[in-house]
Point group: C2
Chain length 501, copies 2
């Protein structure tokens, strides 16, 4: 076995390419601070159960963090909880999603937050996604957000209007390119949509966005500020919290493609307006999941929560899918590709996942011959690291792992033999990559107990039936008594013996 | 089965007595708002693993919340996370516990907070303590704390000194009795300790306590305020957060006896200084756990974390104890009594707990005769509710439940017979009280699978040995092949057959 420091040494030297949304190309990852990586990922707005759309970023950035750690980096992974300020729509006039839910359920907004935060954590744990190093909450960083608004006001990139503060996009665009991240230009946006402001609004332009909103009297979540009793704009929290925990300049900002505009564009503008730099070296975006080719949405009737997936309790599901099947399914596509959900695809993932876990279990019982690493194993080992370090190409890494699965199966069938080094390297790949980096843990070892009991009991009852048929009542009674001592009751019915614990 | 609303009706009419630390007597509980109960409990300072001392309040107030819900009340249960401002000692000059730990481990303080918060949640979950309705963090409520300091300053009960703000205890004591909760008087304290202020201090009197502390340059956790960049005093968070989530006047404040002074005394003083009322109708305090008669402490070498208890990995432990054994042990004493930990006492609890769970499992297989409730069952049912509603007397409730256990065992042995109503009431007591209110879930149903496999496999291997001895190789091969299909490998050794999954 190579020591961790040796692994760190060989792999930190490896070229690790990341596709940077900001530059629209793959770039060699170079950490701002040697050996350390700071990652900020946009977490959930906790006003409902986690759904399939949460699973993809939850798994994608988990693999990124695991990979960096495997390569020897020390990672600080921040994923926030949005518990205030996320408006129902992006017009700044929508209702706060959490406050709205609270009114419906007659709860304090923070009771809603607590409920869904716990459910989110449970779902992420089932998916084997590690908790972040820090999980800051928007409502817990109001002071930091107010300070940031003050700075942006001082720098002249925002204005106050009736107790609210807005980011002045046109003013900003005179100094810095607004739209640089999402590939838009303000000029085009103005041309395409005009400058229409619907109804009475406090803001000067429809492109401006709220940094601070004065609270309407019925708004429950509210804090004092220099401008009004109110609440922060949604985009603000990520600028404030990423700087607080990772510094003014940090390595990686991740999130779903749906957050690219306006959320991340506004975040980048806020960073730049307050400190003259976008703050983020590499912007990463995972693509969306579609369902049978359609966008997922509550109105389309194809909105599936993770719990529904795990239990199979949604009308479009033909069966339940385990968390590891979902994880495997997500990793079978590159994170920047769209991924179409269908029962067929999920069933194929289930098969693939089970096959891999079976090979992982089987290899330990294979007797290797003395010898060094064979070129085939060496090449698939290399291929896996190359794929993972090529913008986290998990489908290619999985394809190489399946080469290993095939080799294990052939060795098991006696069609080829493995050397001691072959066996060791394959075991390490299953352990360190499949489980360690890709996070594919073996579900059977958890759930198998009941299958095994069922199987053994079937055999035991068959033997009891046989004993009875042979009039060997001593044996049939012995079986019954032994089981009874273990808390197993046998009941003879017309259909045969039944047992229960 | 009685409907929940009927249960609610009969039991909300029941007199529920709570010992109120403030008045030093048992009082009839009368909610401030009909049908609703607001409870605030001091949670952990997250700078280390949860230990035996955390288990007692974690379980005591969990039972209180479960009991209120069982009686038909709607409960809002707030338990905070102290993640800033808790000084190493109570002198206001100590080092912040979390910041100190961070420096040692070279982490951001909030990484320490995240790590130990997750561990605390896991420990509470194992102990079957339900999560609170809201779990506010001190660092997430700095604005609320600053507002509270401003109010106390305006009312004249605090003063600023070198960027810090102190509560003026002597000034407060001229209008309100400082010490009313803990049963002290400032006059006695002055007489006993004198007015000595050690060294150079910003505060006027040693009895004054910090509401806001100016941060030393090396202090990591810091926020802007009207007085300095600094951090709130430890006592402040509970005053600010309880008022925010439960209102200016709420029903119950709970915590460990060790928090009575100075923490709760100062909290009460802050409440009163800011709004003219102590704010809390009933103050509840659980007593301490001693270990072999000694106070638990790191320096005494008898400091036991919950993980050490669950795994048995501490030198003073003769065996591991399961979470339910710990829970049962804690409930066997009244929460206001001290509770002495010893291996003997824990082993006794383990036996008692197992006996109760066995009876809970056994009762379902008892065939009752038609009939109404017998006086004995009626009386123990009544006794249980009476005990629980008499200041949560869990040891007496458990004693009555053991009467039910004895009755079940006698019925099982055929020494007495139960009526259908008897059986139903006992089942409901096990379900609604033992499990529902006391939170004693059946651990065997979780862990038993492996015991059962071991037991059945022992028998199966014995039968295989016998078949071989009888030269019935068809049968011994059949057993081996069947097991192999279930993923069980048999290995014949000199000591007999061994099996593995």
């Amino acid at each position: 076995m190579t020591s961790p420091s040796f692994i760190a040494f060989i792999h930190m030297e490896r070229e690790f390419l990341i596709y940077n949304t900001l530059t629209r190309r793959k770039e060699r990852f170079e950490p701002i601070n040697q050996g350390l990586v700071g990652i900020y990922v946009c977490g959930p707005t906790v006003y409902g159960d986690a759904h399939l759309g949460h699973a993809r970023p939850g798994i994608t950035y988990d693999v990124l963090v695991r990979l960096f750690r495997h390569l020897g980096f020390k990672v600080r992974y921040i994923r926030n909880i949005t518990d205030v300020g996320h408006l129902e729509n992006d017009s700044d006039n929508g209702e706060d999603k959490i406050a709205q839910k609270a009114r419906i359920e007659q709860l304090e907004p923070m009771e809603v937050v607590q409920h869904y935060t716990i459910r989110y954590h449970e779902a992420m744990k089932l998916l084997n996604s590690l908790p972040p190093s820090i999980e800051p909450r928007a409502s817990g960083h109001i002071i930091e957000q107010i300070s940031l608004v003050e700075t942006i006001l001082e720098k002249g990139f925002a204005y106050e209007s009736n107790g609210s503060v807005y980011f002045d996009v046109e003013r900003y665009n005179r100094d810095y390119p607004y739209g640089i991240l999402s590939g838009r230009s303000l000029e085009d946006m103005v041309t395409n949509t005009g400058r229409v402001l619907e109804g009475k609004q406090d803001k000067r332009s429809q492109f401006d966005f709220a940094l601070w909103k004065k609270a309407a009297p019925e708004h429950i979540m509210r804090w004092p500020s220099p401008w009004s009793v109110g609440f922060p704009g949604w985009h603000l929290e990520c600028s404030a919290m990423s700087a607080k925990y990772l510094g003014d300049n940090f390595d990686i900002h991740g999130g779903g493609m749906d957050l690219l505009f306006p959320h991340h564009e506004c975040e980048l503008a806020q960073n730049t307006a307050s400190r003259g730099t976008g703050g983020v070296k590499y912007w990463m975006h995972n693509n969306m999941i579609t369902i049978n080719g359609q966008k997922m949405g509550k109105s389309l009737g194809n909105f599936i929560t993770l719990e529904e997936l795990f239990t199979g309790s949604h009308k479009i599901l033909t069966q339940p899918y385990t968390p590891m099947t979902i994880r495997f399914f997500i990793l079978q596509a590159h994170y920047r590709s769209t991924l179409d959900f269908s029962n067929e695809a999920l069933i194929a993932s289930e098969k693939g996942y089970k096959k891999m876990m079976q090979a992982k279990r089987d290899i330990s019982s294979i007797n290797p011959k003395q010898g060094v690493l064979s070129p085939e194993i060496k090449s698939l080992h290399e291929g896996i690291y190359e794929a993972l370090c090529d913008d986290m190409n998990t489908p290619i890494a999985l394809a190489h792992l399946f080469d290993a699965v095939r080799i294990v199966n052939s060795a098991k069938d006696g069609q080829l033999s493995l050397t001691t080094e072959d066996k060791q390297v394959i075991e390490e790949l299953f352990e360190n990559i499949a489980e360690g980096v890709l996070g594919l843990s073996d579900e059977q070892s958890i759930s198998s107990n009941s299958n095994i009991i069922n199987g053994v009991m079937e055999m035991v009852l068959e033997m009891r039936k046989e004993a009875k048929a042979n009039r060997d009542f001593a044996k049939s009674d012995m079986i019954r008594d032994n089981l009874s001592r273990l808390g197993i009751t046998i009941k003879d019915t017309k259909e045969g013996a039944e047992w229960s614990i």
